[in-house]
């Protein structure tokens, strides 16, 4: 019975146990199904998760041997989205949960803290957000926690420090803020700590480094950590990788770093480190990568030597304040150094010290102040692939030995003082992809051998003194994408073979003396986007084949002698900027011009283009500048231009445009410069122009405009220059408008039929400087006293009017005046004394008298006779006192000057007396300094001259403006 009892009890217990086990299994099974609905599973990877099958065979599920427990759930990279269900907490036996590399969103449920057996939690690379749940700190068995590359925000929960088994903690690439919890020093088993790319601030805690002795990898790059590198870093004897790049760490590099003898990667770039390089860095014999760039480090770089750092392959010290020369100890013969970057410092001396560094593949010493030459022994650096020495002060020639660097891919020497010829040996560099020699002083020809560098993608010799012609075989460079030979003295034609550089995108040959025609082979450059040929002597019509260049975007052929039609350029609908200024293009502007809808600048000035502007110009809605000046266009200014509402410059001067100045100009409210001068425009100035509130220059001169100046122009308060001269304008100068032109520095209204007086308001335009020209009108009345306020004015012309009365004394205050013309007016009276310095011609044709004209006929005797006794006495006193003053001068001239100052400063004199001689120099200089007077001449005179010369022949000099 007892036995039976016992066995039945055993049986019962077994049944109970298996029941319990079944129940346990069922719980897991149910929880897996509970978790599932919150996943969105577009690929159907969970389709096998159904109650009819053994859950241990479900995708991603790993069970214990007994099949009673789900130990792992691995659904990494299964394309899941949706959220992680809070029901996950039910899977109590889980040891591994890997949902990494999915698109899960939402937050980590706090129930995760119920998974007490969890050893690995991998949720990295999802779109999870919210806070990191502090409940993770309940996971005492957790060894690996990798939840980075999500959108977590908030602080790192200090509770994580309770996970004392933790070996790997990855929380990089999130938006975590706050500091690093000091409690992390509990994590004595932590080997890998990755917190890169967050918003962590505060200091790197001293405790962290002192407690976590097992650390092998620490990366806190791309955060906002402050303070110094804790000296406790020396405790991290196992450390292999230390990356603190791109933080705000300050202070010096702690010498304690020298204790980290296992370190092979040290990156402190992009901090605020100061001080010098500690020599103890040489103890880091395992170091392979050392990057200290973009700090404020100073001193020399010679504290580091590859004699000690035998494994160092990368040494990056760029963008600091290092100075001094490069010692030959920096890189010795036995070194492993392959990449040495010390760009952007203040290094001096030569590059000779590096010649034994035969392991070098990339050397970047650009943006320093290195001097000396590129040594001929440069070919001892046989492994060199990239040699970057631009922006230094290197002199001497480019040695022929450069051709022995057969691995060279990049040679960047621009902006130095390199002289001499380009060695023919350059042709041996078949792997060369990028050759920048621009902005040096190299001379001689471009060697034909350059055509052997068939790997070349970018070739830039801009800004040297190269002469001769472009090598005929340039077309061998099939990989060439950029060819810039701008600003040299190259002559001859553009070789037709250039058309075979089929990948060419940018061609800049401007500022040379190239001649001949464009080869028809240019039509093969299908990739060509930018072409600048300005300031050469290229001629002839553009080849028709150019119309197949569909990618042309930036075209500048200005200042050449091209002729014929511009239509071959208009095959492209991608043109953004087109500048053909100062050529001999003729014919009509084709309507295809409207095809490049993104065009911002269209400059066709100084050509022989004729007929009407095509209406399609109105399709260029992004046009910022339209310059059609000095051509033979005719007809009305087309209303379609009003669609170009972003126009800032509208330059139509020097054509045969007729009709009225269009009222729609008032809708172009971005307009800053409007030049319609030298056309045949008639009618009035439209009042709508007053709406162009940004207008700075308004030039309508040399037309046949009539009517009066509309008062609305007073709204143009930004105006600097107004030129309405040589029209048929009538009425008075509108005082109400004038007073708003406070920023005007040039005002020309001459050669019209203005009547009435000069409005005194002109005197309020105190910034008038270049010219006030009201000459050749029918202005009457007196010269307003207020004109004396124009103290900056340099030229004043009121000649050929009906001005009468006296010259106001106030004009003597025009102290800046160089040129004055009041001639041919019925002015009378005395010329104020200070104006006598101007030549007689300034006052010709008036009734004025006194210097420089003949003196006013007033008998001196009569004046004397009328003197009273008191006056006589005064004169006597004056004579005596003058004598006294003369005596004083003889004694001490300087004391006299002193006393005069005292007198004036005490009485706060308002007189402008006594500065005799002010003008004497002036009359001489005004005429003598011819250069000075040229300033104004160009604007008004240039136009008609240019046009007549252009229309006759196309051999004119190319110094015309654009």
């Amino acid at each position: 019975m007892a036995t039976m009892e016992r066995s039945s009890m055993l049986l019962a217990f077994c049944a109970l146990w298996s029941l319990a086990a079944l129940a346990e299994s069922a719980v897991n099974y149910a929880h897996l199904l509970d978790v599932r609905p919150d996943f969105v599973d577009p690929r159907g990877v969970l389709s096998g998760w159904s109650p009819g099958f053994d859950p241990c065979g479900w995708r991603g599920v790993t069970c214990s041997e007994s099949k009673n427990h789900v130990l792992a759930l691995n659904l990494s990279g299964c394309g899941l989205s949706g959220t992680l269900s809070s029901k996950i907490g039910g899977l109590r036996s889980l040891e591994t949960l890997d949902l990494s590399s999915n698109s899960l969103s939402g937050s980590i449920p706090s129930e995760i803290g119920m998974l007490k057996n969890l050893k690995q939690l991998l949720l990295y690379s999802n779109s999870l957000s919210g806070h990191i749940p502090p409940e993770l700190g309940l996971l005492k068995s957790l060894k690996v926690l990798r939840i980075g590359d999500n959108s977590f925000s908030g602080a790192i929960p200090s509770q994580l420090s309770n996970c004392i088994e933790l070996e790997v903690l990855g929380i990089a690439y999130c938006q975590l803020s706050g500091g690093i919890p000091p409690e992390f020093n509990n994590l004595s088993k932590l080997k890998i700590l990755n917190m890169e790319k967050n918003r962590l601030g505060g200091t790197a805690p001293e405790e962290l480094f002192s407690g976590c002795n097992a650390l092998r990898v620490v990366s806190m790059a791309d955060n906002m950590l402050q303070g110094e590198i804790p000296s406790s870093v020396r405790e991290l004897a196992e450390l292999r990788t230390l990356n603190l790049a791109n933080n705000h760490i300050s202070g010096s590099i702690p010498p304690e770093l020298g204790k980290l003898t296992s370190l092979n990667y040290l990156n402190l770039l992009g901090n605020k480190l100061t001080g010098t390089l500690p020599p103890v860095l040489n103890q880091l014999t395992e170091l392979r990568v050392l990057d200290l760039s973009s700090n404020n480090l100073s001193g020399t770089i010679n504290a580091i030597s590859t004699m000690h750092l035998k494994n160092l392959t990368y040494l990056v010290l760029s963008n600091n304040h290092f100075e001094g020369s490069i010692s030959s100890d920096l890189c010795t013969e036995s070194s492993s150094l392959q990449n040495l970057f010390v760009a952007g410092n203040s290094l001096t001396g030569t590059v000779e010290g590096l010649l034994s560094c035969g392991s070098l593949r990339s050397l970047d010493l650009s943006n320093n102040t290195l001097t000396g030459t590129i040594p001929s022994e440069i070919d001892s650096l046989v492994n060199l692939e990239n040699l970057v020495l631009h922006n230094n002060s290197l002199t001497g020639g480019l040695p022929p030995q450069i051709g022995n660097l057969s691995n060279l891919q990049m040679l960047s020497l621009f902006h130095n003082g390199i002289t001499g010829r380009i060695p023919v040996e350059i042709g041996k560099l078949q792997r060369l992809q990028l050759l920048y020699l621009y902005e040096n002083q190299m001379s001689g020809g471009i060697p034909d051998e350059i055509a052997n560098c068939t790997g070349l993608e970018e070739l830039d010799f801009f800004g040297n003194n190269l002469s001769g012609s472009i090598p005929e075989m340039i077309g061998n460079l099939k990989n060439l994408e950029l060819l810039q030979l701008r600003q040299n003295g190259l002559t001859g034609r553009i070789p037709p073979s250039l058309g075979y550089c089929a990948r060419l995108q940018a061609l800049a040959l401007a500022d040379n003396r190239l001649s001949g025609e464009l080869p028809a082979s240019f039509g093969l450059l299908a990739e060509l986007s930018l072409v600048t040929l300005y300031n050469n002597s290229l001629r002839g019509p553009l080849p028709e084949s150019l119309s197949s260049l569909k990618n042309l975007s930036f075209v500048n052929l200005s200042h050449n002698k091209f002729n014929g039609s511009i239509s071959p350029l208009l095959g492209s609908n991608s043109i953004v900027k087109l500048d053909l200024t100062d050529n001999c293009f003729s014919g009509e502007v084709p309507s295809a011009i409207g095809g490049s809808r993104n065009m911002t600048r269209l400059r066709l000035g100084q050509n022989l283009l004729s007929r009407r502007i095509p209406n399609e110009i109105g399709q260029l809605r992004w046009l910022d500048l339209l310059d059609l000046s000095f051509n033979n266009f005719e007809g009305n200014i087309p209303i379609e231009i009003s669609n170009c509402s972003r126009l800032k410059h509208l330059l139509l001067a020097g054509n045969g445009f007729s009709g009225e100045v269009p009222a729609w100009l008032g809708t172009l409210n971005a307009l800053g410069e409007l030049d319609l001068s030298s056309n045949q425009l008639t009618g009035g100035i439209p009042p709508e122009l007053g709406n162009c509130s940004s207008l700075l220059k308004l030039c309508l001169q040399d037309n046949s405009l009539s009517g009066s100046i509309p008062a609305e122009l007073g709204q143009l308060t930004s105006l600097n220059v107004i030129n309405l001269q040589l029209n048929n304008l009538t009425g008075s100068i509108p005082a109400a408008a004038v007073k708003h032109w406070q920023k005007l520095y040039e005002l020309r209204l001459s050669e019209n039929y203005f009547t009435g007086g000069i409005p005194p308001e002109i005197g309020e335009l105190v910034e008038l400087q270049v010219m006030l020209d009201l000459s050749k009108n029918q202005l009457s009345g007196g010269i307003p006293w207020s004109l004396g306020k124009l103290t900056k004015l340099e030229r004043l012309n009121l000649s050929f009017n009906q001005l009468d009365g006296q010259i106001p004394e106030s004009l003597q205050q025009l102290t800046s005046l160089h040129r004055l013309d009041l001639s041919e007016n019925p002015l009378s009276g005395e010329i104020p004394e200070k104006l006598s310095v101007f030549p007689a011609s300034s006052f010709a044709g008036t009734h004025l008298c006194d210097a420089p004209l003949s003196s006013c006929a007033k008998p001196m005797d009569g004046k004397m006779a009328r003197l009273s006794n008191a006056a006589v006495a005064g004169i006597v006193v004056a004579i005596v006192s003058t004598s006294a003053v003369v005596c004083m001068v003889l004694l001490c001239m300087l004391v006299k000057v002193w006393s005069k100052w005292m007198e004036v400063s005490v009485s706060n004199s308002d007189s402008d007396a006594g500065e005799e001689g002010f003008g004497e120099k002036e009359g001489v200089q005004g005429g003598a300094n011819g250069k000075y007077w040229k300033v104004e001449a160009m604007k008004t005179v240039g136009s008609s001259e240019k046009q007549s010369s252009a229309s006759e022949t196309c051999t004119v000099d190319k110094d015309g403006g654009n």
Binding site: N386, E439, Q505, E673, S816, V897, E915, F918, V935, G960
Partner: protein, 210 residues
């Protein structure tokens, strides 16, 4: 290997190496340090071949900058030393703005300058001695600023200088008397409380009262 980016447009147009547009680069470099609340510098596009179509910039027919007109433009910031690179500049008109800081000595390199109007700003520091190199200068208006120090005696060599206005500053010392200074009216020096009158050579130190 730090890659050197191949940016076509940058290389061709805005590259700091394009010396042919050094004037545009100088202006643009200065602009980068200015505050421009009313966008008067909006048209200053550094990718253009030259700055001649920028508003407030005037060029000669050779496309060299001869005028810079930014008077009354609400700009603030420093006067850039870069402006000293505009070697053909004749008119530097920066009056009535909120420009601060010192007048850079590099402006003394503007050997073609005819007029320098910096009046009505908040400029501090001294009048650079390097202005003695401005041999073409006729108009120098520095009034209504906060300039200190003495008037450099070196300026007496500016034989073309016709107008000098340094009134309403905080200059000190004595006024030079040589060269063009013989002709400047005393109002040009008004309201500099520590300015002590014309220098008495040999009697009073040149920087008396500074």
């Amino acid at each position: 290997m730090a890659p050197i980016p191949m940016l076509l447009v940058l290389l061709f147009a805005a590259s700091p190496a394009s010396s042919s547009n050094s004037e545009g680069e100088a202006l643009h470099a200065w602009r980068a340090r200015l505050t421009d609340p009313t966008n008067v510098l909006q048209s200053w596009d550094p990718t253009l071949v030259n700055p001649c179509t920028w508003f407030h910039v005037t060029c000669d027919p050779q496309n060299r900058v001869i005028r810079l007109d930014l008077g009354n433009s609400n700009i603030s910031g420093p006067i850039g030393s870069e402006l000293g690179r505009l070697e053909h500049l004749q008119y530097l008109e920066l009056y009535r703005n909120n420009l601060k800081g010192k007048i850079p000595a590099e402006l003394g390199n503007l050997k073609n300058l005819i007029s320098m109007d910096l009046y009505g700003n908040h400029l501090q520091g001294e009048i650079p001695k390097s202005f003695a190199k401005l041999k073409s200068l006729r108009f120098l208006r520095l009034n209504n600023n906060k300039l200190t120090g003495s008037i450099p005696r070196e300026l007496v060599v500016l034989s073309n200088l016709k107008i000098l206005d340094v009134s309403n500053n905080d200059l000190c010392g004595t006024i030079p008397i040589g060269g063009p200074f013989a002709n400047f009216p005393l109002q040009s020096f008004d309201n500099n409380s520590r300015l002590n009158g014309p220098e008495l050579q040999g009697l009073v130190p040149y920087d008396f009262g500074c």
